[in-house]
């Protein structure tokens, strides 16, 4: 199958990092998708609510997800569980970023992962569970 030029777009994080991604990957974020559909997106989309470090991780997940949906290897469950294998501080930032970008799969995934850390615990244990490890 001959490859052809797919449209690409640049995503710019709050701390100035730029990521060139395929439009299909960027549109995993509903926020970006509606901007593109409404014709409000230029070549560079600024995302002041998301830092580069976390934007990079989310873009990485979206790339893998798009590849998997097109018949790639692995399972979606595997992709998701890999995404949340991070320390608590990162998980929280990823949760906030997913909300900002409206990547619904990741919103549900990060929320559920954080909820699992809280479930069944006493107040004291919740305090400890929500404090990032030193």
């Amino acid at each position: 199958m001959a490859s052809y030029e797919r449209r690409k777009v640049t995503l710019k994080s709050s701390d100035g990092e730029e990521f060139l991604v395929e439009e299909a990957v960027a549109m995993e974020s509903r926020m970006i998708r509606y901007m593109i559909w409404d014709g409000l997106a230029g070549d560079v989309i600024e995302l002041p609510g998301v830092k580069g470090k976390f934007l990079s991780m989310i873009i990485d997940f979206c790339k893998k997800r798009v590849a998997w949906a097109a018949g790639g290897d692995g399972t979606l469950e595997g992709l998701k569980s890999d995404f949340v294998k991070v320390d608590l501080g990162t998980l929280i930032h990823l949760s906030a970023a997913s909300f900002c970008l409206k990547t619904n799969d990741l919103v549900d995934l990060t929320s559920q992962t954080l909820a699992n850390r809280i479930q069944g615990k006493t107040i004291d244990e919740i305090c400890r569970a929500l404090n990032p490890e030193e």
Binding site: S95, S111, A115, T122, I123, D124, N131, P132
Partner: protein, 421 residues
């Protein structure tokens, strides 16, 4: 991240506002979790039972404010609890903040919900209608000794939303001798106080209580509200032998011409005669009633009981079935050692002599007794009734609240939810 002070061992202090030290400037950087916006927090906590929301409100000020949002709270499913009444001869400790002590069967934890939002010095929880809690309120203790008994007020409140309403005052005799029943919203959220001969009724928005004569053949026993009707047992027998019958009355018909109707079916046979001192408890759903009592070993008046039996009446089909029987080893704890040997009538008739308290609703029944201090037995209705080995439902022991003392527990079901008062 600043920590709230650890709760007393065993009982979880829920919903206390975080210590004031947390609201001051804190040199250490805030934990990332505190940077999450409200809607993210709400999304996380909407995946969790309500208990976790209540507990997390004590973690820090940010959580406390975010998780108190009315629109968020109204999304959460209710948390069914068993709330405790004060033990008899309870002495109010005016130095302790008023609170409601309750058991959460889903997490097997004792919880304490703050009632400090109600401006009365001493509060006595009495009953609930789903998520609305009713308490008797004493006026402040008078320093001068007087023999006049001040009027008491029933207070209706929701500890989750911290809203409350004070009902018109009643003579203190009603609070000493009356049974308070709270009707659900479909019955107009009425409140009733029943005594041997009369009933008081209050509807939201009314200026005062209305009084009705009960017109029952005898003192109503174990009245419960199911749907929009009251159900009660009455003794239609004689002083030598009780003959219990089941009566019902629509709340709207109280004091009216139609009044109480006796429920009876020929097929019921001697269903009332096999139980000693039966009690009624509301069943799961809106059309079931449970009748619980000591299972007589014979029809002799003073026959000892072999165990506790739970029968269920389906109000739609008007058919009884057995749904639970207390396991023998559990019953022995209530009856006292030697109860099975048919020895002294006092030990054999533990249930019959009212030494066992029975309370509950919505598919769970709890049992407490003088011989079973510091714990309760809990029966839970099961979806598929397997009639095997004559036990039925699931039975287990529940340890009492830590530090509560060796008292006999009395309680009522209460669902924590965000309904407005």
């Amino acid at each position: 991240m600043p920590l709230s002070s650890p709760p007393p061992t065993g009982t979880e202090e829920l919903d206390d506002p975080p210590p004031s030290s947390i609201t001051q400037e804190n040199p250490s950087p805030p934990s990332p979790i505190q940077l999450l916006p409200d809607d993210t927090l709400h999304h996380i906590f909407s995946c969790l039972p309500l208990r976790e929301t209540l507990a997390s409100r004590s973690v820090c000020r940010h959580f406390h404010d975010s998780l108190s949002s009315p629109s968020f709270l109204s999304l959460l499913p209710p948390l069914p609890l068993l709330a405790l009444r004060h033990p008899r001869h309870h002495h109010h400790n005016y130095h302790l903040p008023p609170s409601l002590l309750a058991f959460d069967p889903s997490s097997s934890r004792w919880l304490r919900l703050s009632l400090s939002f109600i401006p009365f010095p001493s509060l006595s929880p009495v009953t609930a209608s789903s998520s609305l809690l009713y308490l008797w309120a004493d006026p402040a203790p008078s320093t001068s000794s007087s023999d006049s008994k001040p009027p008491k007020s029933l207070i209706l409140c929701n500890p989750l939303t911290r809203s409350y309403r004070i009902l018109p005052p009643l003579g203190s005799a009603w609070s000493r001798h009356g049974t308070v029943l709270a009707a659900p919203a479909i019955a107009g959220s009425a409140v009733l106080v029943l005594t041997e001969l009369a009933a008081l009724s209050y509807s939201p928005g009314a200026a005062s209580w209305r009084k009705f004569s009960l017109n029952l053949p005898s003192k109503p026993r174990s009245p419960v509200i199911i749907g929009s009707s009251i159900f009660a047992l009455c003794d239609t027998g004689n002083p030598w032998r009780s003959q219990w019958k089941l009566f019902s009355c629509s709340i709207d018909d109280l004091g009216g011409p139609r009044g109480w109707v006796q429920l009876e079916r020929h097929e019921w046979g001697d269903v009332f005669d096999i139980l000693k001192r039966p009690r009624l408890v509301r069943g799961a759903g809106i059309s079931r009633i449970l009748m619980i009592g000591g299972l007589r070993s014979s029809f002799a008046v003073d026959a000892p009981c072999s165990t506790v039996l739970i029968l269920r009446l389906d109000l739609g089909t008007l058919e009884w079935e057995e749904v639970g029987r207390m396991p023998p080893e559990m019953y022995r704890c209530f009856a006292g050692v030697g109860g099975q040997r048919g020895g002294a009538a006092a030990t054999a008739n533990a249930v019959g002599n009212n030494k066992v308290k029975v309370f509950g609703g919505d598919g769970r029944v709890w049992f407490s007794g003088k011989r079973v201090r510091g714990k309760m037995a809990m029966w839970e209705e099961e979806e598929e009734m397997e009639k095997c080995a004559g036990v039925g439902g699931s039975w287990k022991w529940v340890d009492g609240a830590p530090g509560y003392g060796e008292v006999v527990y009395r309680g009522f079901v209460f669902d924590v939810a965000a309904n407005e008062v």
